[in-house]
């Protein structure tokens, strides 16, 4: 059951071979059984009534009755939403995020909320107030972040689908480290309303599942213009058609030789090259492209994202919701300081400080504005590249899942985002799909598409998954 695709699950439900309640129970039981070893989940919905939920949903849809876990970044009405932070450890939103609403309307059954790096800031899920998440492939290792809980949950088959978010790589990198498929859509495709903001011009809600086909089915239901989000685009929605075969004839795939050179882990490099060969064998043509300004991407990102975050997090002052310091406070400023210092973890505080610095007078033009200019240059680089190719295939992470506590100082983690950040800055659709593991640890390949063309990368990934089975592998401990 747990290794069936969404289409197969829907088929079973439609044939009444299993009821929605039974299907939800299968996964709920796994959540309860396995979560203690993973710490992937913050909240497990014991008393949902799937029949109840289904009654309000689209019976005919391909997602009706399918269980789902939301990253705890998405506001869920009357269900705790913590963003992995002490600041929101008891926060219960009075409304649903648009993504939550849409998937509810599609008939999906939410069974739990996933652990994450606090306020989506991190690449290892070691920065959650609620404790680190373990990688299902090796409990001593990290699952990646910030959507570490979502990735671990899908990898361990605690759920067939999990929502997640990606700002600088927070879907792609954990997907790669956990051996699953995850997609970040184009900026503006999926409404940010109700998704707790980290960096507003970069954040996008996305989805993680076992296969690209599964991801596509869910993404189709998630996306769409939302009047409540001024940055959501009024673009033509697309309708997912799974590819009939794996033929990639005529597909021009861009590769960046410079990035391959930078892969110091030889196993990862070999897996990547092997994956590219698989595509060539299907008829794809590899084209060398370059992103001349990509080496500035990490620096630009670590100005822009913290800057936007520093303002987005100012609302956490203890007055209207969330944590408020229990200590006696001399005055309001004292209350602000105590509340925020207690409520935010170290990484979040560090990024707030960084963002405050980048925006302060004297630095704004040299750093913040300059970073936005670099974003422009990188965006132009991609446009140039896409004038020659249809999709790009590049690495996700220069390393496999590292050990918990290995990177005690956050800064060394930042540089590891070098392959994921450029597409984030340019707002492009991008995904990670599993390829040949390295020393038994998952490795991912990143596909990047032109703006709004999620279909190009999803169909390329789906084709790849027709002739490979990396995406079907799962950690033995959870079989």
């Amino acid at each position: 059951m747990i290794n069936l695709s969404l289409r197969e699950l829907t088929h079973l439900l439609a044939q009444k071979k299993i009821s929605t309640a039974e299907l939800a129970s299968v996964y709920l039981d796994r959540c309860k059984q396995f979560n203690p070893s993973l710490n992937a989940l913050l909240h497990i919905d014991d008393d949902i009534n799937p029949e109840h939920l289904l009654a309000a949903a689209d019976h005919d849809g391909p997602l009706a009755g399918i269980p789902l876990i939301h990253k705890d970044l998405f506001s869920t009405q009357d269900v705790k939403t913590t963003a992995g932070s002490k600041m929101l450890s008891d926060y219960v939103p009075p409304f649903d995020a648009t993504v939550v609403k849409k998937l509810k309307q599609a008939g999906m059954v939410s069974i739990a909320k996933a652990n994450m790096d606090e306020f989506a800031m991190g690449s290892s899920n070691e920065y959650s107030y609620f404790g680190a998440v373990k990688n299902p492939w090796d409990f001593d290792r990290v699952p990646g972040g910030s959507s570490g809980g979502s990735a671990a949950a899908v990898a361990a088959r605690l759920t067939p689908v999990a929502t997640a978010s990606d700002t600088g790589g927070s879907i792609r990198q954990p997907a790669a480290l956990c051996g699953i498929t995850g997609i970040k859509p184009s900026y503006g495709r999926v409404s940010r309303y109700g998704m707790i903001a980290f960096a507003s011009s970069l954040d996008q809600g996305g989805v993680m599942a076992v296969s690209a086909d599964d991801c596509a089915l869910v993404l189709e239901a998630m996306m769409g213009h939302d009047a409540l989000d001024s940055t959501s685009i009024e673009a033509e929605p697309w309708h997912w058609q799974a590819p009939r075969d794996a033929a990639m004839k005529g597909l021009k795939v861009g590769v960046i030789p410079a990035w391959l050179e930078q892969l110091k882990d030889d196993d990862i490099k070999q897996s990547t090259l092997q994956a590219l060969e698989t595509m060539v064998a299907q008829g794809a043509e590899l084209v060398n492209v370059d992103l001349p300004h990509a080496d500035l991407a990490v620096a630009a990102y670590y100005i822009l994202a913290p800057a936007e975050a520093s303002a987005n997090l100012s609302r956490f002052d203890g007055i209207r919701f969330g944590h408020q310091s229990a200590e006696t406070c001399d005055d309001i400023n004292d209350m602000y300081r105590k509340t925020r210092s207690e409520g935010f973890g170290h990484e979040v505080q560090r990024r707030i400080m960084l963002g405050t610095w980048a925006l302060s007078s004297g630095y704004y033009d040299d750093y913040y504005c300059q970073a936005q200019r670099i974003r422009h240059l990188i965006s132009e680089d991609f446009k140039q590249a896409f004038s020659q190719v249809d999709v790009m295939a590049v690495p996700v992470s220069p390393e496999v899942a590292f050990k918990q506590g290995e990177k005690s100082d956050g800064v060394s983690m930042y540089q590891a985002d070098q392959f994921t950040i450029p597409a984030s800055l340019a707002g492009l659709p991008c995904l990670s799909m599993p390829i040949q593991a390295a020393r038994n640890l998952p490795v991912g390949l990143q596909l990047i598409g032109p703006y709004f063309n999620e279909q190009a990368i999803l169909s390329t990934a789906a084709k790849f998954q027709l002739v490979t089975d990396y995406h079907q592998r799962m950690p033995e401990a959870f079989l």
Binding site: S314, R315, S360
Partner: protein
């Protein structure tokens, strides 16, 4: 020799836009609701909420910009102004920084020395903060977020006012303008119009500006004049005793008639402005501007010109009418319905009609006389049917009864007696009753004309046509 000082005043005026909903959320913007009952999730800054801009706020801002002849950019953006205060839920205010919706413009003000043009640096949209209530509890400040997120236009003047009177005149000019345009309800008590004054002194003739102090939240024309005058005096005293003026924010205490330092607002705040990433830039198109031009009522300045050039009104009368929204409307409406000349209409309106309003302790907003009825009265005067003196009476009756002029004239038989035969009969009677005076008149005492006209008027209860009466008298004299 004592130092002479130049006073430099700049004003920042916050105009609350008359909108049904807030600038970024669909919560109601109505004044006076029970605390925290007009607060959307966005206004409370719940995580994940996002701003969506009110179309009418943009329209009103453009309308204002066009009315002050301002430069309007092709693109405008919102920016975050970051600081912490309990009535500012997000910890930042969404305002505008580098690309304000209204650029440089100007407006005329009335000073003792005539009309002065004051330049306006810019005007931009921003959201208002909530209200902090300090006197509800001893140890707590109570916060009401109803006002948080309502739309404001901040109008920033160049520092071109040189005394308190000019500052008040400028404040009035902007006040009249925004109420005239219909973008602000002008309710001072409700805080629809607030002014911050930046005051500094410099040695007379010096090019270098002195340090300025800002006096915040003045919402009365009277108080702003007093506050500025106090501040000027205070700064003068400081400077003349060799001390410095501190750059700070001050509040005006109306009871003590003085300004004092505002505690609690941390000084030297770096607001770290940056473009709001939740809001793309707004494109301002020619269509949008044309729409606002079409929606704009004719400005007083334009009316003034028109009244003088097309209708030959005297400048002082034209000015009085043009700058009064209600008066000019009533004037134009009635003028369209009457044969009387604009000059006659204007004169009657400004003197007699106003006198009635004063007597009734009322104003044109509560006008009980329709433009149609008033036009009827003007017609009766200009056709000679009644004299101006009678018209004043009729006007009062019109106010009290709601009836038309014609109805009242008929009912009370007030029509002016211009029938020669009827008049002649009356005049003859009066002459017979006053033989001695008639002899005097015959003897050449021309002053007696007035006596007889007066007597005829008395007889006819003011209804005799005075000119005609005199004419008939003269004829009778000549015939005699």
């Amino acid at each position: 020799m004592s130092q002479q000082w130049d006073v430099v005043i700049g004003l920042e005026i916050h105009v609350r836009l008359a909108l049904a909903s807030k600038l970024f959320s669909g919560a109601s913007a109505k004044y006076g609701a029970s605390p925290n009952s007009q607060v959307s999730f966005l206004d409370a800054a719940l995580p994940g909420t996002l701003p969506v801009v009110n179309a009418k706020a943009i329209e009103y801002a453009l309308r204002f910009g066009l009315s002050i002849d301002a430069d309007i950019p092709e693109e405008t953006r919102f920016a975050r102004k970051n600081y912490f205060y309990p009535d500012l839920p997000k910890g930042y205010q969404i305002s505008q920084m580098d690309d304000p919706i209204v650029g440089r413009g100007h407006i005329d003000i009335e000073t003792e020395d005539g009309v002065k043009t004051v330049n306006i640096t810019r005007a931009h949209l921003e959201e208002d903060a909530g209200k902090s209530i300090h006197d509800q509890y001893d140890d707590w400040t109570a916060i009401d977020l109803n006002r948080a997120g309502t739309a404001l236009i901040e109008v920033v003047s160049e520092p071109e006012m040189v005394n308190a009177k000019e500052a008040v005149a400028y404040m009035r000019a902007i006040y009249n303008r925004v109420t005239f345009l219909g973008i602000c309800d002008g309710n001072l008590q409700e805080g629809s119009f607030r002014c911050d004054a930046n005051v500094s002194l410099k040695p007379q003739g010096s090019e270098t500006l002195g340090t300025r102090a800002e006096i915040k939240n003045l919402n009365s024309f009277r108080f702003i004049e007093k506050a500025i005058n106090f501040e000027i005096k205070r700064q003068k005293q400081l400077l003349e005793s060799g001390q410095q003026v501190v750059q700070e924010t001050r509040l005006y205490d109306a009871e003590k008639d003085q300004t004092r330092t505002m505690r609690g607002k941390e000084d030297a705040n770096d607001y770290r402005y940056f473009p709001d990433p939740d809001l793309p830039a707004l494109k301002i198109t020619a269509e949008m501007l044309d729409k606002q031009r079409a929606a704009m009522p004719e400005l007083p300045e334009a009316k003034l010109k028109r009244y003088i050039e097309e209708w030959q009104l005297r400048e002082d009368e034209a000015r009085q009418l043009a700058y009064d929204v209600a008066m000019s409307e009533f004037f134009e409406q009635s003028q369209a319905l009457t044969d009387a000349s604009p000059a006659e209409n204007a004169k009657f309106l400004i003197t007699d009609f106003n006198a009635l309003l004063n007597e009734q302790d009322s104003d044109l907003k509560a006008n009980k006389i329709s433009a149609t009825h008033y036009a009827g009265l003007l017609n009766a005067m200009s056709s000679g049917e009644i004299s101006r003196k009678i018209a004043k009476q009729v006007l009062t009756d019109m106010w009290n009864s709601g009836k038309s002029a014609e109805a009242i004239i008929e009912q009370q038989g007030l029509a002016q007696i211009s029938d020669s035969d009827a008049l002649q009969t009356i005049i003859t009677q009066v002459i017979n009753d006053n033989p001695q005076q008639f002899e005097q008149l015959k003897a050449g005492n021309d002053k007696m004309f007035n006596y007889f006209v007066g007597q005829v008027m008395k007889q006819t209860k003011g209804q005799a046509n005075p000119a005609q009466t005199k004419q008939i008298l003269e004829e009778l004299l000549n015939n005699d």
